[in-house]
Each structure stands twice: as C-alpha cells, then as structure tokens.
Symmetry: C2
Subunit: 210 residues, 2 copies
DNA sequence: TAGATTGTTAATCGATTAACAATC
DNA sequence: TAGATTGTTAATCGATTAACAATC
C-alpha cells in the first residue's frame, strides 16, 4: 500500500472526487484538468493535485487527467474493486432503509442478513433478505464470512453486540447508534451520528447571517 | 452573538461534548474538570478548554465545570433552546426513519409534514404525520413557517425542490441526497452522504493493519 | 493559605495554498 | 516547438497542544 499515513481529511475528500468523476463519465467527458475540476467542486486545484499525489501520479503534464482512469484508480484506492459481506443489526426503519438501498450492492457491499431482537419480525424479509434473531448472529457471521456490520439499533443494544461481532471476525462497524464504540485495534468504526448532524445544522442556522 | 468566526472543526465537536455532558447528568455527576472529561472523550484537555473559550468562560478555576450549567450553555450555543418547524421531503424508508425518530422532537425539531410525489402514499400517515403531495409544498411551508427541510429523495428530485423551498422561506436543508446543492447565501446546508461514509469505511478497512 | 484548575498566550504541528520547474 | 498542465517544493495559514499566570 502507501508509504506514508494519509490524513483523515484527504480520505474524506476521495468519495467526493469519485462522485464528480462518475458524473463526468456519464456526461461523456474524457479528460479534465485539476483547474476545471476545482471550479466544478469549489476547491483549489492545488488541493486536488496534492490529494491525488498522495497515491501516485495519475495525470499527465499538458493534458490533465483521464476521467475514466482516475475514476477507476480512486475506486481502487477506496476499496471499491472488492466485494464485501455485510449484516445490518436492527431492522427498524433505518435498518430497512439501508437494506433497500440497492446502490450499495452495486458498489460491492452485499447485505447477507438483517438481525433484530424483536421475535415478531422473525422470518420477515426486506428486499428478499431474511430478518433473523440476534442469537443466530455468531454462527451466521462465521458461516458467511461477514466483514462489515451496520448498527441501526439503540445505544445499549449496539454496545452489547459489538464484542460478539468482533469475536466472530467482523472487521468494520458502520455505527448509527448514538454512542462511541469501544473496539480493539485493527477493527474500524465509521460513525453516522444523525442527531449530531442535526445539531450542527441548528448551530449554522442560528449563526449564519442573511 | 460571538465576535469572531468559529471554525467548522469546533462546531463539529460541540454536539459530542453535549452528548457526554448529558450522560454525566444522567450519572448524577455535578462537576467535571477539563482533564477528567478529556480522558473520557479521548481528546486533550487543552482542546476542550480552547473550544469552550470560543464562546465564553463557563468554568471556574480550582473547581472545573458545573455539568448541568455547561450542558445547558452548549445546548443554547447549538440553538437547542429554540423550537423549529421541519418538513421531510421523500417518504421512503429513510424519510420514515427520520419521521419516526422521536428524539428529534424532544430537542425541539417538530416535523410538521412529510411530502412525496407518489400518489399512492397520499393521505397515509407516519407517526400521525400526514404524507402530502409535493405540489402542496409552497403553501404548506408558508402556512406553517417551516424553517428546515430534510431531503430524503433521489438526487434529481432534490435539486428540483430546493428552489421551491428557498422561495417559500426555508432557511436550512438537511440533505441526504447524493449531490451538492446550490443555495444562495443565508441558507444553510448540512449534508449526510451515506454512500460516501460507507466508502470511507471501506478505505479504512483496506488500509488499517491488524 | 495551599491546591487545583481555568483562561489564555506561546509553541508546535499539520494542512492548505502558491509557485514553478519538469515534461507531455 | 510552444503551450498547457502536472508533480512537487516552498510559503502560508490555521488548528492543536503545551505552558503558565491568574484566580477560585
């Protein structure tokens, strides 16, 4: 992989580059300079070139970047050239929203199972994926070599389930519960704290002038 | 309000302070020093003191911070002492998940209506909130003095609806659509790009050593 | 008063932007 | 070749951490 550590700020920008490049492909654009892209994205051309050169030289002097090639390379950097097996823990609205979001599967994130503690949901399916009871989780993770778990359940349940996930081999947690999870090194956590996002909105609403 | 501009990084940390302070109140803790809090939250005590002092001196030398008071003050800074009227545009799973999330209302974010273009949803309710057709939106926003709109619909629809929202007085957009919205100054956008979050997870999964 | 801890200034670190030589 | 644009070094800017005087 890379020689040096890539900063969080850079990693956060990569998916946005990827999205814009995808749009350019759809628009049949073949090449783009850091300058044009910077105008589209409202960032500096310098930042784009610096960000990309963390991972290697993808452009060509006097030409710019080939859109398709750069898209593919950023996809590879993000790990989108691989296939992942995923479970969703918590079959409420949010869990079902994720399960129904087909685009994840297009990007290689396969949802293998949905779990809940509510026995009334047992056997029901969401987009063909069966809802299972949480006690089946350890076996299921091992049998299906699950790498990623999305936690769409309340705080207390999330904290309980994390050690079970990790014991059985889960390597990444997409955490929607309103708590900071404790995981050992080598396990990755990505937080989506919706209420904190709404509070930031609220702050900005109150501190932005017309 | 404040004299100088507060950095985005600081604003992003405020809701997390708020959450930890809420937990401390529940645990009946009366006072806390920046040092104790820093250990709980895995940040430096210096950062906590710097962050808070952007907004004023909430502590007392030799004592620390009064938990309840600090909680209340951060809530006020975040605008959580006010009440907001909100609509959700897009009555899919994600929109319904937001509508069902009662805690938002506890924090003063009242969901007044849910909108969709699908006529089959017309008249249905989610937690007592009626689903309305998008053509009723302009009137509804004005009549109910809606300040915030959550966009839980596909990209194209989101881009179409934004000018309508703004024309009728919406001041903040909570954007779940996979696109960067164009809004005039004075209108606030907070993005929640789930697929980009998943890509960051994927990156970290592939670039973290055991 | 002595001890603790803040508020704040100064030092350090890292990220962004500018500049330009290399080169297609 | 001349023009364009990258890759990369240097300069700037901002954010984080350290240090300590002020003070409860």
């Amino acid at each position: 992989m890379e020689e040096h550590e890539i900063s969080k700020a850079v990693v956060k920008r990569l998916p946005r580059y990827y999205r814009y490049l995808g749009d350019l492909i759809e628009a049949r654009v073949e090449r783009i300079s850091s300058n044009e892209l910077s105008r589209m994205m409202n960032v500096t051309a310098s930042q784009i070139r610096q960000d990309l050169n963390n991972f290697g030289g993808f452009g060509q002097q006097g030409y710019g970047y080939n859109v398709k090639y750069l898209y593919q390379e950023i996809g590879r950097i993000l790990g989108l050239d691989k296939i992942y097996s995923m479970v969703i823990i918590g079959a409420g609205n949010l869990g079902q929203a994720l399960a129904n979001y087909v685009k994840f599967e297009k990007r290689g994130f396969w949802i293998k199972g949905i779990f809940d503690v509510n026995p009334r949901l047992k056997g029901m399916t969401v987009r063909g994926i069966e809802i299972r009871m949480t006690d089946e989780l350890p076996q299921f993770i091992r049998d299906n070599q699950i790498q990623i778990a999305a936690l769409t359940l309340p705080k207390a349940g999330a904290e309980e389930v994390v050690p079970i996930l990790i014991e059985n081999g889960v390597k990444a947690i997409w955490n929607f519960a309103h708590t900071d999870l404790n995981v050992p090194g080598g396990v990755v956590v990505e937080n989506v704290h919706l209420s904190e996002s709404l509070m930031q909105l609220s702050y900005n609403l109150n501190h932005t002038d017309l």
